[in-house]
Amino acid sequence: MARFNRWWIFKPVVFLLCLVPMAWLLWDTFTGNLSANPVEDIRNRTGIWTLRFLMITLGVTPVRRLAGWPSLIRFRRMLGLFAFFYAFVHFITYIWLDQAFAWDEILKDVTTTRPFIISGLASFILLIPLAITSTRKWIGRLGGKRWQMIHRLIYLSAVVGVLHYYWRVKLDVSRPLAYGAVLVVLLGFRLAAAAVYDRRPVSVQRAPLR
């Protein structure tokens, strides 16, 4: 019980920390701290924070296994929902501030050969079912196994999201590649863990991997 309470205290703290990038962006926007092209700044910053939250969310499982902190699982849903939150703000920035709801332009963006726009849109859309089914109720309704299958869409969303970033930059791909490298490590851990698990006797498969 005492242990539970301690985590309960941490949750609002993490929640507020997750809001810091948004608060910081709003502060810069309304104090005139953004560059000459504020819409571009808002777009870039919400986009990069989406990727960061996707990476942080994907980092929960490796960290709790490697460091032996299984309780970290309590934060995973919140972190994932924040990734969705920043993706949503990013998406709205594009639709509203960038395109001013010019649906013909948006449709043109999506339908013509623009992997850059399509990848961004796909990365966002892939997160929608995850956000919807993030409640305990939905886990019950779907059953753990099917729920987990659906939530593996985050892997695809992150891959497509990094591609979106890669296609966004003009030439200097060092930062998108850095995100790509982090993602390779995060997904690689899962492949390696699965391989190790498969070779271990069933009785110890539930134990945390050290």
């Binding site: 560059s35 819409v39 030439l171 200097d172 060092s174 590649l177």
Partner: protein
Amino acid sequence: MLIKRASDIASSEITPEDLFHNRREFIKKASAVLGIAAAGAILPACSNSTVSGMAQGKPKGKYDTDEKQTPFDDVTHYNNYYEFGTDKADPAQNSGKFKPTPWTVSVEGMVKKPASYALDDLLKGLTPEERVYRMRCVEAWSMVIPWTGIPLAAILAKLEPAPSAKYVEFKTIVRPDEMPGQRPSIFGSGLHWPYTEGLRMDEAMNPLAILVTGVYGKPLPNQNGAPIRLVTPWKYGFKGVKSIVKIRFTDKQPLTAWNEAAPQEYGFFANVNPQVDHPRWSQASERRIGEFYKRRTLMFNGYTEQVAQLYSGIDLRKFY
């Protein structure tokens, strides 16, 4: 800076920059000041016309736009100049060490007088003009900038290129000590130094093409390409090669920096064209810096009348 100005300095060049920002405010203030002065004089009726004449700066030139000018602070703090870093804020931040004086420009190739010129000598006898141009970046944003420069045609006439010369090529200086973006790094910007640009001779002779030495009536700041840069307002901004140290005349189309780095995305011509999209984004509209919503991009950035004849019979989809 040591660049000599011709005797007939445009009045805009001596107008303080802060007054340039808001002409209405300037008119109001100037009227008040001159009004008081005129009260002591005998010709109060003249004061008003004098004021408005001054407030207009020099009369609007043939090639000037009267659109609202982008504030000096934005023009000098939102830049693409990869030699100083790839972020828009990098050039203003990282160009403090750059020394634009003394400056020599080497003139080479198919030209009557190949030589190294001190910048002052290269520009000697030529009259700087103020040109208020639209500037459209390939990234779909734009500005309106009052440049001070010399028509490229006048400089070329002075250098006397050979009839065999079909193109003119420009190169930016390489100074990794002063330009952090030029230092070797794992990935770098993806561009090869020196930054190279070029124009067909007839494009270079077009009266819109200018070699710029100033902005807002001041010497060009380092982050904008000091001490001398190219401005071709009907083309995307990256054609405007900065801190030029080499002008070479040739009969072969130069391999330009962005064209070399990503040929499927950036062509040699790089004419502003709302009908030909960048492979990754639309070029149909642009965000004017300072405006909330986008505006439509104009063919040749609104300079069709001056430049369309250069491209008659050319498939602009193919030669982008």
